[in-house]
Amino acid sequence: MLSLLLAAPFVAALVCVLGSGRDGFAATRLALVMSVVIAGLAGVVAINGATPVDMPWFTLWGTGATVHFSLLGDGISAWMALLALGLGPAAILASRVSLGDKMREFCAGLFALQGCLVGAFLAGDVVQFYFFFEAGLLPMAVLLAMFGDPEHRRQATMQFFLYTMLGSILMLVAIWYLAAHGQSTLISDLPATVAGLSPTARTACFAAFALAFAVKTPLMPFHSWQAPVYAACPAGAAVVLAGAMAKLGTYGFLRLVVPVFPEASAQYAWVFILLGVIGVVLGALMALAQRDLKRMLAFSSLSHLGLVVIGIFTFENAGLDGAVVQMVAHGLSVGALFLLIGVLEGRTGLRDIDAFGAVAGRAPVYAVLFVCAALAAVALPGTAGFVGEVMLLYGTFSGLMACCGLTGAIVVTLLAGSSLIFGAGYVLRATQRLLYGNKPEPGGARMSEITGAEGTAVGVLLVATLVLGLLPSLITGRSAETTHALGAGARAARVVACGTDGCCVLPGPGPAEPVVMVKEADDAE
C-alpha cells in the first residue's frame, strides 16, 4: 500500500507526459483526475493506516551499514504524505489559467515533486530520506525556472537551489559519519548509534542536521531564499512548496533531530526557541511591511512555522501534537491562499496589494472564499489552525513553566502568541485592500468571478480545515503515540539539564537577535 502510494505520483508524471498532447485542457483534466485519485489513496492511508515496509536494500559504500528500503505508515508520516498529495488538485487548478498549454509539463513536474515529498515523508531510513529530500529540489527548481515569474525566476531558482542544497550538504556528511559508526541507517536505529559517539561528534552531527532543516523550514535567519522564491513561484507550485515542501524542515526536526539527538536537543533547545520566537515576531512584522501578496504569504509562513519549531523544542506532548496539527493546518490555509492569489494573478497579471480594491462587488464568491481562507490563516476557533496554535502555545507555556518559571513562560508565550495579533493585522489588511472599498484599481477592474472548479478546490481545503478544527483527533488519534515517543528522550534529557544548571532557555530575546544576524552574515561570507 505504501509502496503504491510512493509509486503513484511518479507513474502519474509519466502518464502526464505520454498521455496528453499539447492541449493544455486535456492535460489538466487528465492530471486532475489522477491527482484526485492519488489524494484519495493517501486519505485512506492517513485514516486507516498501512503496514510499514522494511527490507534491506544495499550496503552504503565505504561503510558497513545496510541501507534499508523502509516506509513508515504511522500517523505523522501518513498525514504529511496526505498533505503533499492532497494539495495536488488545488495546485493544478491554481495554475490552469495562467499556464494554458504548458500544463502538461507543469503537471509532470508537479507529480514528480509530490512523489519526492511522499518519499521523504514516508522514509524510515535516513539515506532514503536524504535521497528524496534532495531529489525534490530538482522538480521544484525546474518548475520554478520554467514557469516562474520571467523577471525574477533565474535569480530565485539559483537562490533556492543553492541555498537549500548547501544547507543540507553537511547533513549528508553527518549521515555518512553516522552510517560508518553504526550498523544500520534505519531512523529507529540512529539514537543508539548517536549515543555511542563522542560528545563533540554528537554535537557536530546535531548541528549538521539542524542546519539543513533550519534552512528548509526556514528558520530566521536562514530564510532569505524564501520570499524571492515564493514571489517568483507559479501559484500552483507555491501551493505545494509552501503547503507541503516547507514542512520537510519541521518534519525533519520532529523525526530526525529531537529523537535522534535528545541530549543535544535539550541542551540547545533555547537556540531554537529563540530563533523561533524571532521568526514569529519579525516574520509577522515583515509580512506587515509587504506589498506583494506572495511575499506577504512567505513571511507569514516564516512566522507560523517559527511557532511550530518552538512547539517541537519544548518537547511537551501538547507542543509536539500541536506541531503535527499545525503543519497540516498551515498547509491547508496557505495552500488555499496561494490558490486564491494564483487566481487573482492569472486573471489580472498583478499581485500588488494596492492594485485591486472592490473585488467583492465583482466577484462575491471569490471574496467569500478569500475571507474564509483568511480566517483559517488567523486560526479562528473552529479551524484546524486554532487547535494547532492552542496546542503549540500551551506546550510552550508548560514547557517553559517547567524550566524557567512563570515570568519566563508568560514572556515567551506572549511573544510566540503575538502572531495571533499580527497575523490578524496583515491578513485583514490584505483582505480590506483587495476586496473592499468602492473604487476598483486596474487589477480590481479586470478581476472576474472564480470558476466552479477553482472554487471547489478552495472549498475542499476550507472544509478540510473546518473538519479538522472540530475533529483534530482524525490526525492526533493516530499520530499522538508516535509523536509523544519521539519527544520522550529529549524530555528526559531536559529534566537532567534543568536539574543541573537551572534555566536552560532564554538568555533574553532582545539582545541575542542582532548577534545571531551578524554571525550568519559572517558565516555566509
Binding site: F10, A112, A135, A318, V365, S398, A424, Q432
Partner: protein, 679 residues
C-alpha cells in the same frame, strides 16, 4: 467524573439552542451568496422570516430548558445543571477536551436575554435593513453572531467559551464593516478585531496560567467549569493570593477588557458605531460586550482567590465609568453618546464584580440589556426616519411625530438615569450600596458617574425629542416606523421599566440572588468572609436588607437626589437645544474621546510596529542577509559553468535533468515493487 455529575442531567436537545441560529446563518448565507449577482437579489421576506424564526425558536427552547432545570434537584451546595457531553474535541497535553454544553442558572439567565432580546433585535433589523441590497447577508451575520454568543455562554469548558468569544469578535468585525465600500467602516472593523485579539491572547495565556495553578496543587488538569470550580474551592487555602492565580486572573481580565471595552482596550467600541444601528444594539450594547462580566461570574471561584486582581478590576471599572461618562457629555453623534454610555455602564458591572457581588453585576447586565437596547433601537428609528442623520443638532421635536419611539425612549431614559421605579434604579443602586460597603470612596466616584449619566442622557433626550425641530427632513414626513421596528422597541421599553422588579421577585422568589446563588453564591460568601473586617462579617450574618435598612435608604436617597438634580439641570440647560458650537464636526476632537488613547497607541505601538517591520525587511533582510547569500551563490555559480545553462532556464537541459531524476526514482520504485512481490 466527579460527584458533581449527580446534580446534572444529560439533555441532548440542548444542542438545538445554538444549532438553530447556525442553520439560519447557513440558509441565509447560501441565499446571499447565490443571489448576489442576480438582479432582484434573494427573497427579502424569506430571509427575514428564517432569520427571526431561528433565534425565536432558540428562545422558546431556552425557556423550556429553564423550566426543566428548575425540576433538577441538586444536592446541597451543588449547582443544578443540564448538560451534554457532545463529542471529544482534542487533547491538550493530558486534558481531554469535550465539545460540550452546560446549562445552569447563570447560563439560563444569559441565554434568556441573548436569545430573547436577540430575536427582537433581528425582527427590528428586518425593518431597518429592508431596503438594503445585502439584507440576506446581514441576517446571516446576525444569526452567526447569535450562534457564537450562545456557544460562549453555553460552553462547558473554557475553550468552547473561547470559540464563542472569538466568534462574536468575528461577527462584530463582519457587521461593523458591513457596508464595506466605505473604508472608514472597514478600518473600524479591523481595529475592533485586532484590539479584541489582543485581549484574546491575554485570555489564552490566562487559561494556561490557570492550568499551571491547577497543577500546582496536584489536582487533575481540567478546563471544565465544574471541575475547575471544584479544584479552586477545594484548594482555596493553598491557592489564596498565589502568584499563579493572580497572574491567571489578571490575564483573563485583560481578555475581558478587550471584549467588554474597559480601559485600556476600550478604543474599539466608539469606532464600532460605524456598523448599522441594530448591530450596535445587539452586539455593542446588549450582548457581546457583557461577555467579560459573564466570564468573571463563570470563574468567580477563581477570581475571589486573587484579591489583588479584584482590586484592579474595581479601580479599572471606576476609571472607565467616569472617563466614558465625561466623554459622553461632548458627543454630537447620537450613537456615540450611547456608545460611551455603554462603556460607562459596563464599568458599573465590573465595579460590582470587583467588590465581590457577581449576582448584582449580572443583574445590571440584565437590566442594561433592556434599556440600552431600547435606546439604541430608538435612536436607530430616529436615524432611519431622518435618512441616516446622526447629528443630534439636526434632530429635535420628534416627541410629537414619533410617539411610540418617544415613549419607549423615555422609559429607557428613566431606567438608565436610575430614577425610582426604572430597571436601572434597582441594579445601579445595589451596585452603589455594595461599593459603599467595600469603601465609601468607591461610592462617591460611582455616584458622580451616575450623575453624569443622568446629565448626558437628558441632554440626548432634549436634543432629540424635546426641543424644537431642526431636521433637514420636513417634520410632516416623519412618523413612527412600521411595526417590525416599533414593536420591538416598545417591548424592550416596557422591559426597561419592569425588569428591575425581578430582583425582588415575582411570587416571592428573589430571582437573582437566590436563582444565581448555587453558581456564584459560595464564591461571594468566601470573598466577603476573606475581605471584610470582623465587624462587617458580623453584619454580613444578617446581610441583604433587614439590618442597616436605614443606611441603605439614606444611600439610595442621596443617589436618587443627585441623579434627579443632574437630570433636571440638564433639562433646563438643553431643553431649547442651544446651538452654541454647532460648527463642531460630528467626529472632531470633542467627539473622539478615545483620541488620546488612540494617539498613544498609534505612536507607541502601531507606528513602531510598521517601522520595525520595514526596517527589518529593507535593512537587515534585503540589506545584510540577502547580499551575503547572493555572494555565496555567485561564487558557486562562477565555478559551476554547467550549472549556468540550467540557470539560464534552458528548457531542454532542465527537462533532461528532471527526466534523469524521474528515471532514477522509478528504478527505485520498480525495484521495491518487484522485491515486494517476492516477500
Amino acid at each position: 467524573m466527579g460527584p458533581s455529575m449527580l446534580s446534572s442531567e444529560s439533555v441532548a436537545w440542548l444542542w438545538l439552542i445554538p444549532l438553530l441560529p447556525l442553520l439560519g446563518f447557513v440558509v441565509n448565507g447560501v441565499m446571499a451568496l447565490t443571489g448576489a449577482r442576480s438582479k432582484a437579489g434573494p427573497s427579502r421576506g424569506f430571509a427575514s422570516f428564517i432569520a427571526v424564526l431561528m433565534p425565536a425558536l432558540s428562545f422558546a427552547l431556552t425557556i423550556a430548558a429553564a423550566i426543566k432545570l428548575a425540576g433538577v434537584r441538586a444536592p446541597l451546595g451543588q449547582a443544578a445543571a443540564l448538560d451534554h457531553q457532545g463529542f471529544s474535541w482534542f487533547s491538550l497535553g493530558s486534558i481531554d477536551l469535550h465539545f460540550g454544553l452546560h446549562f445552569d442558572a447563570l447560563t439560563s439567565l444569559m441565554l434568556l436575554f441573548v436569545t430573547g432580546i436577540g430575536s427582537l433585535i433581528v425582527l427590528y433589523s428586518s425593518g431597518y435593513m429592508a431596503a438594503d441590497r445585502g439584507l440576506a447577508r446581514f441576517m446571516s451575520y446576525l444569526n452567526l453572531f447569535l450562534f457564537s454568543m450562545i456557544m460562549l455562554v453555553m460552553g462547558d469548558n473554557i475553550l468552547v467559551t473561547f470559540l464563542g468569544w472569538e466568534g462574536v469578535g468575528l461577527c462584530s468585525y463582519l457587521l461593523i464593516g458591513f457596508w464595506h465600500t466605505d473604508h472608514a467602516n472597514n478600518d473600524a472593523a479591523r481595529k475592533a478585531f485586532i484590539v479584541n485579539r489582543i485581549g484574546d491572547l491575554g485570555f489564552l495565556l490566562g487559561v494556561f496560567a490557570l492550568l499551571a495553578a491547577v497543577s500546582s496543587v496536584d489536582a487533575e488538569l481540567t478546563l471544565d467549569y465544574v471541575g475547575l470550580a471544584e479544584v479552586f474551592r477545594g484548594n482555596a487555602a493553598a491557592l489564596q493570593g498565589s502568584a499563579l492565580v493572580t497572574a491567571a486572573t489578571v490575564l483573563l481580565f485583560i481578555g475581558c477588557t478587550g471584549k467588554s471595552a474597559q480601559i485600556p482596550l476600550m478604543v474599539w467600541l466608539p469606532d464600532a458605531m460605524a456598523g448599522p444601528t441594530p448591530v450596535s444594539a445587539l452586539i455593542h450594547a446588549a450582548t457581546m460586550v457583557t461577555s467579560g462580566v459573564f466570564l468573571l461570574a463563570r470563574l468567580s471561584d477563581v477570581f475571589v482567590l486573587a484579591p489583588g486582581t479584584m482590586d484592579l478590576i474595581t479601580w479599572i471599572a471606576l476609571a472607565t465609568m467616569l472617563w466614558a461618562a465625561i466623554a459622553a457629555l461632548f458627543q454630537w453623534d447620537i450613537k456615540k453618546v450611547l456608545a460611551y454610555s455603554t462603556v460607562s455602564q459596563l464599568g458599573f458591572m465590573f465595579l460590582a464584580a470587583g467588590v465581590g457581588r457577581f449576582d448584582v453585576a449580572l443583574f445590571h447586565v440584565f437590566t442594561h440589556a433592556f434599556f440600552k437596547a431600547t435606546l439604541f433601537l430608538g435612536a436607530g428609528s430616529v436615524i432611519h426616519e431622518l435618512h441616516h442623520e446622526q447629528d443630534m443638532r439636526k434632530m429635535g421635536g420628534l416627541r410629537k411625530v414619533m410617539p411610540v419611539t418617544f415613549a419607549s425612549m423615555v422609559f429607557a431614559w428613566w431606567a438608565i438615569c436610575g430614577l425610582p421605579g426604572g430597571a436601572g434604579f434597582f441594579s445601579k443602586d445595589l451596585i452603589l450600596e455594595y461599593a459603599f460597603e467595600a469603601n465609601p470612596v468607591l461610592w462617591v466616584i460611582a455616584v458622580a458617574a451616575a450623575a453624569l449619566t443622568a446629565f448626558y442622557m437628558t441632554r440626548l433626550m432634549c436634543y432629540t425629542f424635546w426641543s424644537k425641530p431642526r431636521s433637514d427632513t420636513p417634520v410632516a414626513k416623519i412618523h413612527d416606523p412600521d411595526w417590525r421596528m416599533s414593536a420591538p422597541v416598545f417591548v424592550l421599553g416596557l422591559g426597561s421599566l419592569f425588569s428591575g422588579l425581578l430582583w425582588f421577585g415575582v411570587l416571592d422568589i428573589a430571582f437573582f440572588s437566590e436563582y444565581l446563588a448555587p453558581v456564584v453564591g459560595r464564591s461571594q460568601a468566601q470573598f466577603a468572609a476573606l475581605h471584610e473586617t470582623a465587624q462587617a462579617v458580623a453584619e454580613g450574618a444578617a446581610d441583604d436588607g433587614h439590618h442597616g435598612l436605614g443606611k441603605m435608604i439614606a444611600l439610595m436617597a442621596v443617589s436618587v437626589a443627585v441623579a434627579a438634580a443632574a437630570a433636571s439641570a440638564a433639562y433646563f440647560k438643553f431643553r431649547s437645544a442651544p446651538n452654541s458650537d454647532s460648527d463642531a464636526p460630528v467626529s472632531g476632537f470633542g467627539a473622539a474621546w478615545t483620541w488620546g488613547f488612540d494617539r498613544v497607541y498609534e505612536t507607541c505601538l502601531v507606528k513602531p510596529t510598521m517601522v520595525i517591520g520595514r526596517f527589518v525587511d529593507r535593512v537587515i533582510d534585503q540589506g545584510a542577509i540577502a547580499p551575503a547569500v547572493r555572494s555565496v551563490g555567485g561564487m558557486v555559480d562562477y565555478l559551476g559553468a554547467g550549472y549556468r545553462s540550467f540557470q539560464r532556464g534552458q528548457l531542454r537541459v532542465s527537462l533532461a535533468i528532471s527526466v534523469l531524476c524521474l528515471t532514477l526514482i522509478l528504478g527505485v520504485v520498480l525495484m521495491d515493487l518487484l522485491l515486494g512481490g517476492v516477500h
